[in-house]
């Protein structure tokens, strides 16, 4: 009945629209509400300097200007005005000093906050001051690793000085986003509690803040004064971010049209969404994804976690992990696991095998580098060479002349992943089963997220299945994860105690190539990828393919992998 009504209504409106459209050429907004479903709870903040999760990031992206524009087609920094795809960004030009350490940014002067105040370089400077004050809850403190200072000599100029030349400078400059500084006090102790953080009444993007209904939705309204709109106006009425906590219900709501937009729907339902796309009910955009899963090894003895460096900065020689300390063992295990089976089983075929830390979608990805082929016989052989054989025929290998394990030690380890992630649970199950077939006993457990973090940071684990998500544009830098300085039990990110100076040096080199040509940098990262593949600090698994989906009622929808929303101002939703 409802459907019938809708058909009649649509027909009626269509007829009406046709008669109205014929005489006039100038058109107003087509309207409609963009309705995206989301898992997470309420966003905790709308302040770009405080936002740490995907929910607030999405909404901020629609309400606030970016600093450096990004061309969505090539996912690379671009100047505003360079081409029509670069929208909603502030910097129209930048100049780099001779030595590569000073970036002079020119801000546009035609961009305004919704209260009429111009968006200026002072807003940018204010954001920087907030970050370095140390008095806010921002997690952007790391930009200081690259940026030494920011000055704003006038309203349209910002001068950013780096510690040293860095090819990622524009990325880091872009991480600092403007906030309406005229609403904030210079006393940064009040920063975290400013009411604007939660009710951003003043914004400067295609949308303005509507309302938040806790546990239900956040709504945004079309900004009538959005200056970068393709059509001269924002075409839809607004955007609603609707909270749907159950994954199954979320897909059903999308298929039934209760919501009209999904970002990365669950892999196990993508075939249903594709089927709906074939009937024309929905539109689908699939792309190589930027999220990837891996199994990290602890290369040091979990019974005696040590930091990488002592108090004076000298390297501490750590006891190796009895099993995984030997690189031959790690390489053998890579041969023992069938990545194709894992991709088919755990992500329903929606993934691409990886050989290193660089995702296949990245500009830095080395296409010539293949993952270790699945070859259990070879794995057994390699393990035998490394001193692991089943001496007592109980189906589990024992050490006999292994590098770090006493003779007779069984090849047995504990593998953790976080509970509630069915994808990683499936990966663990398959790894456990496949390794059992070459005589490796895996005690696979899914555990509470916080417990797992505890164990991981304490460096008392054997192996953990986890994932990373790369950004756009991709920064393949892994210094934070693989440097010896980060090997600090209890808090450092190098929880597996992977030390290879060459790897760190290459990453540094890749960021300091004169001219920063992507091909030059990619060549350095290619060597990095080869070494990391050989070293196997992780068992590399797969990157999960990305998917955007929209109802066919959403017009003007034209996503790029890096950004589904680059032209959101031109979207409309048919009734």
């Amino acid at each position: 009945m409802r459907k019938l009504n809708r058909v009649l209504l649509t027909g009626l409106l269509l007829a009406l629209a046709l008669t109205l459209a014929l005489p006039t050429t100038a058109q107003g907004p087509k309207g409609g509400i963009i309705l995206e479903a989301s898992f997470g709870g309420d966003p905790a903040t709308f302040n770009p300097l405080l936002c740490t999760e995907t929910g607030c990031a999405r909404l901020i992206g629609l309400m606030m200007p970016g600093t450096i524009g990004v061309d969505p087609e090539i996912a690379a920094p671009a100047r505003v005005g360079e081409n029509p795809r670069v929208r909603g960004a502030l910097v129209k030009d930048w100049q780099i000093s001779e030595d590569g350490t000073v970036y002079t940014l020119t801000f546009r002067d035609d961009y305004f906050w919704t209260d009429g105040t111009p968006v200026t370089a002072f807003d940018y400077k204010f954001a920087w001051d907030a970050i370095v004050s140390g008095q806010t809850d921002t997690n952007l403190g790391y930009v200081q690793d690259v940026i030494a200072s920011v000055e704003a000599p006038d309203a349209t100029t910002a001068v950013v000085t780096l510690h040293e030349p860095d090819c990622n400078a524009l990325l880091y400059i872009g991480y600092i986003q403007v906030i309406p500084s005229h609403l904030f006090s210079n006393d940064f102790t009040q920063f975290n509690d400013n009411p604007w953080n939660f009710e951003p009444t003043v914004t400067a993007g295609p949308f303005t803040f509507g309302q938040m209904r806790s546990g239900e939705l956040v709504s945004l309204l079309a900004n009538p004064n959005y200056v970068d709109a393709e059509l001269g106006y924002v075409n839809s009425e607004g955007f609603i971010y609707k909270n749907v906590p159950d994954a199954t219900v979320m897909v059903e709501q999308f298929l039934a049209g209760e919501v009209n937009l999904l970002d990365s729907p669950a892999v196990n339902r993508r075939s249903d969404i594709r089927a709906a796309a074939e009937t024309g009910a929905v539109q689908v955009y699939a792309y190589p994804g930027n999220a990837w899963d891996y199994m990290t090894y602890n290369l040091a003895n979990p019974a005696n976690p040590q930091p990488g460096l002592d108090e004076n900065g000298n390297e501490i020689v750590q006891e190796p992990h009895p099993i995984f300390g030997d690189v031959r063992v790690r390489q053998a295990l890579a041969h023992a696991v069938d990545l194709e089976a894992i991709i088919d089983g755990a992500v329903f075929g929606e993934g691409t095998a990886m050989a290193s830390t660089v995702i296949p979608a990245s500009w830095a990805f080395d296409e010539t580098l293949e993952p270790y082929p699945y070859d259990p016989a070879k794995a057994t052989e390699m393990l035998a060479e490394a001193g692991w054989v089943d001496t007592d025929n109980d189906g589990v290998l024992e050490a006999q002349g292994a590098l770090y394990a006493e003779d007779g030690t069984e090849f047995r380890f504990t593998l953790y992943t976080n509970e509630g992630n069915t994808r990683r649970a499936a990966v663990g199950t398959i790894i456990q089963d496949e390794l059992s077939q070459i005589g490796v006993a895996v005690d696979f457990q899914t555990i509470d997220w916080n417990t797992m973090l505890d164990i991981m940071y304490a460096q008392t684990y054997d192996a953990i299945i986890l994932g990373w998500r790369q950004g756009y544009p991709d920064d393949p830098d892994f210094t934070q994860i693989f440097s010896i300085q980060s090997d600090v039990p209890g808090s450092g990110d190098n929880t597996g105690s992977y030390h290879n100076q060459r790897v760190v040096d290459l990453m540094r080199e890749a960021r300091r190539v004169p001219g920063c040509g992507l091909e030059d940098r990619a060549a350095i990262y290619a060597e990095y990828q080869r070494i990391v593949k050989e070293d196997q600090p992780y068992m590399f698994l797969y990157a999960i393919d990305g998917m955007y989906a929209a109802s066919s009622k959403v017009e003007g929808w034209n996503p790029y992998p890096s950004n589904m929303f680059w032209n959101v101002d031109a979207w409309s939703v048919m009734p």
Binding site: D272, E419, A426
Partner: protein
């Protein structure tokens, strides 16, 4: 303590000696023998329990499958596929043998926690009901405290804190659940305390222990059995609910609850993977309710004999 409003609908008939209660037993048995529905329910539960206990043996010698062997090329096989009677799951594992293994855990949690609940509740209930006084007051305060926290919250907090294994979950469920049983038993014991056969037993010098556990316990049988049956069912449901919230028994250990939770996310690929664990939960709980009802009716003195 004033009006503790435990309802005591059961009025044991005026019996002269406690041997009369034996005739109550005889009556109950006679009624049960005529109650085919309850008998069927008992048979189903026993069968499920037996199959679950024998799961490893059945998998190995009857089904010839390893429940942990993945086979991605043969995933989502339907019911009746060659070699897999109930098909295979999302990783190509044999569904039937996994259901049986999961039954071990699910039924184990239900029975284990219910029996533990019953033991704690029964002992404390009899003791406090029989003696009264300070012990009674103290335990009363404790159960009022526990009962004042909505048990789901307590369970959530504990489940999140301890990340329990199946064994720990049994303990946690029992520690939270015993208060209800205890209230019931305590009320019943207070009523029994003034019954003539107890008074006369005391007058001929029977020890307290003997009175409590030899004379009183048999009279508590029906109430205990009914509560036990219903509790087991509820606990199996609680486990599945916890699994749904991500706080139940963790995979790869399978329970009917987490198999159902997992399978419903891809129900379009393998509907049978959703239906089977769900059906097993429903059948088990249903049978346990029926058994509870049957025992209640059988021991109900008001029922026509």
């Amino acid at each position: 303590m004033a009006a503790q409003t435990t309802i005591k609908p059961v009025n044991l008939q005026e019996e002269e000696e406690h041997h009369v209660s034996e005739s109550l037993w005889a009556t109950a048995m006679r009624r049960l023998r005529r109650d085919y529905l309850t008998q069927i329910a008992i048979a189903v539960i026993l069968l499920l329990a037996l199959l679950s206990i024998l799961a490893p043996t059945i998998s190995q010698y009857v089904l010839h499958v390893d429940p942990n062997r993945t086979d991605i090329a043969n995933k989502f096989l339907g019911i009746g596929a060659p070699g897999h009677i109930l098909g295979t799951d999302d990783l190509g594992r044999d569904h039937l043998s996994r259901l049986l293994h999961a039954g071990q855990i699910s039924l184990g949690i239900g029975f284990g926690a219910a029996i533990l609940t019953m033991t704690i509740g029964l002992t404390l209930g009899i003791v406090t009901g029989y003696y009264g006084g300070v012990v009674d007051d103290l335990i009363n305060w404790l159960i009022t405290t526990l009962d004042s926290i909505p048990s789901l919250f307590l369970l959530l907090i504990i489940a999140a804190v301890l990340s329990p294994s199946a064994e720990a979950l049994v303990l946690v469920l029992a520690l939270i659940g015993w208060t209800g049983v205890m209230r019931l038993v305590r009320g019943e014991t207070i009523a029994l305390r003034s019954q003539e056969f107890i008074v006369s037993a005391r007058s001929i010098g029977a020890s307290d222990l003997r009175i409590m556990f030899v004379h009183m316990l048999p009279n508590l049988f029906s109430i205990v059995a009914v509560t036990l049956a219903i509790n087991i069912g509820n606990l199996i449901l609680v486990e599945s609910g916890l699994s749904f919230l991500g706080l139940g028994v963790k995979p790869p250990t399978a329970t009917w609850g987490n198999m159902l939770t997992n399978a419903q996310t891809f129900f379009t690929k393998g509907p049978h993977l959703v239906v089977m664990p769900g059906l097993l939960i429903v059948i088990t709980v249903l049978c346990l309710y029926i058994i509870g009802d049957g025992i209640r009716d059988a021991f109900d003195p008001q029922m026509p004999r």
